[in-house]
Symmetry: C2
Subunit: 126 residues, 2 copies
Amino acid sequence: MHKSRLAGFIIDCQGEDIEGGTRFWGAALGLKVKPGAPADPLYRTLDTAPDEVHLEVQQVTHPSRVHLDIETDDIEAEARRLERLGARRIGMVKTWCVMEAPTGQRFCVVRPQRSDFAARANSWPD
Amino acid sequence: MHKSRLAGFIIDCQGEDIEGGTRFWGAALGLKVKPGAPADPLYRTLDTAPDEVHLEVQQVTHPSRVHLDIETDDIEAEARRLERLGARRIGMVKTWCVMEAPTGQRFCVVRPQRSDFAARANSWPD
């Protein structure tokens, strides 16, 4: 048995100006940037309410897009579940698994992000 | 004065199989499809909790992607606010305004979608 659910969305911005991209998206959505030094220089977290989805701006080298993250307590089991649904594995990046949906969108399977993960995630038989 | 905030995300699926796309994304995210006849044959709403973002699967003719919607009680004032932040207007579709962020992603400015819009949206001076 493992758990998963929608963690949130990453706003992928092509180019080197992550501060400019973060300023635009923070102002557009009326969200502050989460205070403190970013854990990774290529990411900025927008400070959503605890009951809202996780939102990040990421600096990328591919064309700009938006992708979603699925959070799980067992990345391998969740990747296998998603493969059975028709997704395909692209590869691991650091701790997360990049996948592609049968409908074409790339998305990531990541470790739990939100504080209410255990209480509100879906349970799946392995 | 007008209000706006993040309404949610639309999973744009290229092709004609909206039922297949909806099945995959509903199962992947552990969400049921909102019961009842869809208001528009090109959209299916995933049944997120009232305190979560609005999520839809849309059948599109352009390449698959994910885009976000900003909900507002004044589409013209919100589009002008976003233009001042650097976005550009692509055009109106039915009741919503399609825009492009300075970072390249398309997004839409739509009428209020979520029941707690009035209580939780940001207020902006016009």
